[in-house]
């Protein structure tokens, strides 16, 4: 008969931890789609997402990179997510080291751990992962036996705050970089760490702070000539790697569907938007490739929803044709399609209306600012008329819930602009009442955080007090119980702003704050600014000087060693136009504005023509 020995699961060191934590499914793994056999002799690469599983599993980048790495022979790939604080505690109590999620390999045994830097407030989670794997925090303290710590994603283009922690930053698109990087790692196996890093530092788009030095210091004169380091770029998405199988999570995740990236980059030119600057130029995947992937992935994953993903999916040229041609494929699998990131125009509403899946909930739009003047300043090409027409169209089509995203603390903002937010909410409600008895308007207001590589990179961020005051002001103006207004925690926006534009001195602060207990700073339930303020104080850093100060044109910026593609002169010109309230139209339908990528752009378009 069966005895206790028949149930090997109870021998698993994780078992007891999992009986005690919330959402134990985060740590289980065992998802469908992880099918490459684990070969001990391979180069072991762990993709690390510095936040919880359900967020990490919704990130399209890891689906692409996991599949890309697995396609390289001699590379074995696994993933890890940051254990929530309850799990971290259980692991420490039982002295359990962090292991990868599928094959349960101790993290310290990997050759490479590759972090993605999607959001500044995940940086302490990187340290949690390193610490639970018994890997020293500082690049300079790691030896030949330790994994190489790689980091990519948008945060890698502003690497200074993590530059004493990360060994190698991968700048720009990962697709061209990872195969050559893995090849070099394999070829240099057994060589001393320093020599390996030296070889890696010569790869295009690799920034190795230990060897290259930093933007604002002159301590490595021999590497001056390699600055600025240019980001890598996929030229043609049709020939770029895209997964034909994906990891299908067992537990609910944020976006539970097949993500298909239909284009990369956006040239709308919103002046606050880092993604709109650092992913240029626009590169589209052809409808043929998208349709083929759709069929293949619906078949191989069993998901019944496809998300056509990009920074502004309605901008895809021929989106109507693509949707029309998708229909027979979707019908075959009884699946539907979603389009995230709707623009505020009638076309988007018509599109959404044609997609059955959007019918479920409400619609979300981002006017970003309350008045036409301020929308011109930020180059959000949305007019009062667009807003009215869009809202009218939304409610006329039967939707009863609308969510609107705004920002407070934008450059040149006045009280009138804040009142404009309330005014739009009221007008929305007025329009809604013309169609429905019951409707709901949700307003979400984020504190504006100036980001590197944008026209606002020189601008001061509002102080915590300013943002709190503005948030309270906005809340006090809402008297309709069918309008709800929520604003982001100003403390968190402040820290995000410091980490977004700080220099290499922040590495020590991040470590200090982590040691004091800072974890999951992006989550309101765990965030604690006090820990950070003590860390800043102890390291002798003034965070207000980083976040809330206006910079001069000639100030050396901590990210000057990184060439994200857009030129400094373009950014400054955009800043000047912004302060005058002049808009710059999208270069897809207007002249080239010489943003710095014109050479790449003309090469891409001539390629397309010759095809």
């Amino acid at each position: 008969m069966m005895n206790y020995e028949s149930f090997k699961e109870y021998k698993d060191p994780l078992w007891s931890c999992l009986t005690k934590v919330n959402r134990p499914s985060r740590y289980v793994g065992k998802e469908w789609g992880v099918d490459k056999a684990w070969n001990e002799g391979s180069l072991k690469f762990c993709l690390a997402f510095p936040d919880v599983y359900e967020i990490g599993m919704s990130y399209i980048g890891f689906q692409i990179l996991f599949s890309l790495l697995n396609s390289i022979s001699g590379v074995a790939t696994d993933r890890v997510y940051c254990p929530w604080t309850d799990m971290e505690e259980e692991m420490r109590e039982r002295s359990i080291a962090l292991r990868s999620i599928s094959h349960k390999i101790p993290l310290s045994e990997f050759d490479v751990i590759g972090f993605t830097l999607q959001y500044e407030l995940t940086y302490t989670n990187i340290l949690t992962i390193l610490d639970l794997a018994d890997i020293p925090f500082l690049s300079s303290e790691r030896n030949d036996d330790h994994p190489v710590i790689l980091a990519g994603g948008p945060g890698a283009l502003v690497p200074a705050p993590l530059s004493e922690i990360v060994d190698v930053f991968c700048l720009g698109d990962g697709e061209p970089f990872l195969p050559v990087f893995c090849d070099l790692m394999e070829k240099t196996r057994g060589l001393p760490r320093e020599q390996r890093l030296k070889e890696i530092s010569r790869l295009p788009g690799a920034y190795v702070p230990l060897l290259h030095g930093y933007a604002t210091e002159e301590d490595k004169p021999e590497s001056r000539e390699s600055f600025p380091i240019r980001r890598n770029l996929v030229k043609d998405l049709d020939t770029a790697h895209y997964p034909e199988r994906m990891i299908v999570p067992n537990a609910p995740v944020v976006h539970d569907r097949i993500p298909i990236e239909i284009f990369r980059g956006c040239s709308r030119g919103c002046r606050f938007c880092q993604a709109g600057m650092i992913y240029r130029p626009v590169r589209e995947r052809s409808p043929e490739t998208v349709l083929k992937l759709m069929d293949t992935l619906l078949n191989s994953t069993g998901w019944d929803e496809v998300g056509l993903v990009s920074l502004a999916s309605c901008d895809y040229s021929g989106i109507l044709e693509l949707l029309k041609r998708s229909q027979p494929i979707l019908d075959k699998y009884n699946a539907n399609v979603t389009l995230p990131s709707l623009r505020m125009d009638n076309f988007s509403v018509q599109l959404a209306n044609s997609l059955e899946s959007h019918r479920r909930g409400g619609l979300t739009f981002a006017p970003e600012a309350g008045t036409q003047r301020l929308r011109n300043v930020i180059n959000k090409g949305v007019t009062e008329e667009d807003i009215e027409n869009t809202l009218d169209s939304v409610f006329a089509h039967g939707w009863k819930r609308v969510k609107l995203y705004f920002m407070m603390g934008l450059p040149t903002e006045t009280e009138e602009d804040l009142e404009g937010i309330i005014d739009i909410a009221r007008r929305a409600m007025h329009i809604a009442r013309g169609y429905h008895r019951r409707s709901q308007i949700n307003i979400s207001v984020a504190g504006f955080v100036p980001k590197a590589h944008t026209p606002f990179q020189w601008e001061p961020q509002d102080t915590i007090e300013d943002l709190s005051r503005k948030g309270r002001f906005l809340k006090s103006k809402v008297h309709d119980r069918n309008i709800s207004l929520h604003y982001h925690e100003p403390d968190q926006s402040f820290l995000e702003g410091v980490l977004a534009r700080g220099g290499k001195e922040l590495s020590k602060v991040i470590i200090n704050a982590w040691e004091r207990g800072a974890r999951f700073d992006g989550w309101t339930e765990t965030f604690n600014l006090l820990l950070w303020m003590r860390a800043f104080e102890e390291e002798g850093i003034d965070p207000f000087h980083i976040a809330c100060r206006r910079r001069d044109l000639d100030e050396k910026l901590p990210w000057d060693n990184i060439d994200a593609g857009i030129s400094r002169s373009f950014l400054w010109k955009e800043r000047e136009l912004s302060l005058k309230g002049h808009v710059t139209p999208d270069c897809r339908w207007d002249n080239c504005h010489l943003c710095g990528l014109e050479k790449v752009c003309s090469m891409l378009s001539s390629n397309k023509v010759s095809e």
């Binding site: 740590y27 994953t301 069993g302």
Partner: protein
């Protein structure tokens, strides 16, 4: 529309995947295998699937029932379905069924209980025997270093019911000190235990 009943097991760390996630996991595996569901009516149609009584996370199970409403199936589809499931979620047997809804047929469930850590079996046995669980039990035996118990109405008297008794009597601190495994679920017809398949 045809109704297929399966018995499946949930083992290893997969036991920590919540019960409520299983319909989607089974459904996506079935779609990968080329099976077509009968969809529920209404605003957002979903594949029609009924699971047996909810099982808390952290309880391995050997033969849980679930009913699936397919447009049709054949042996080839079903075999492919089996191989398309995530590791440690396994379908062991299946058969076409008719009649009452699954939720009306799950009248009894059997469990194996093993103390973990330093907990002694006799005290676990004595505590359960003299509790409401002992009173209700349809079958109660000590064997192979553990307890085997069959309780009525798994919706109400599930693994949580047993663990709660042991915690209340201070035999164990929490779930980490006990192993509870659900071995089977059955119907009761005229007082005798009847298999679901």
């Amino acid at each position: 529309m045809k109704r297929l009943r399966v018995l499946y097991s949930k083992r290893g760390l997969f036991s920590f995947i919540p019960h409520t996630s299983l319909p989607q996991i089974f459904a996506s595996a079935a779609r990968r295998a080329g099976l077509s569901f009968h969809y529920s009516e209404g605003f957002s149609p979903r594949p029609k699937i009924s699971l047996g009584p909810a099982l808390p996370v952290g309880v391995p199970a050997l033969a849980e029932p679930a009913d699936f409403y397919f447009l049709s199936w054949n042996d080839h589809n079903l075999r492919r379905w089996k191989t398309n499931l995530p590791q440690d979620l396994t379908i062991h047997s299946w058969g076409a069924v008719e009649g009452k809804n699954l939720s009306k047929l799950c009248k009894a469930a059997s469990y194996l209980i093993f103390p973990r850590a330093d907990i002694a079996l006799p005290i676990v046995e004595k505590t359960i025997a003299s509790s409401r669980a002992g009173e209700l039990s349809l079958d109660f035996q000590v064997r192979d270093g553990g307890l085997s118990i069959t309780l009525p109405d798994p919706q109400q008297y599930g693994p949580g019911f047993i663990v709660k008794i042991l915690v209340a009597e201070r035999v164990i601190k929490d779930w980490s000190e006990i192993a509870v495994i659900r071995t089977s679920i059955a119907n009761m017809v005229e007082g005798s235990i009847t298999p679901l398949l």
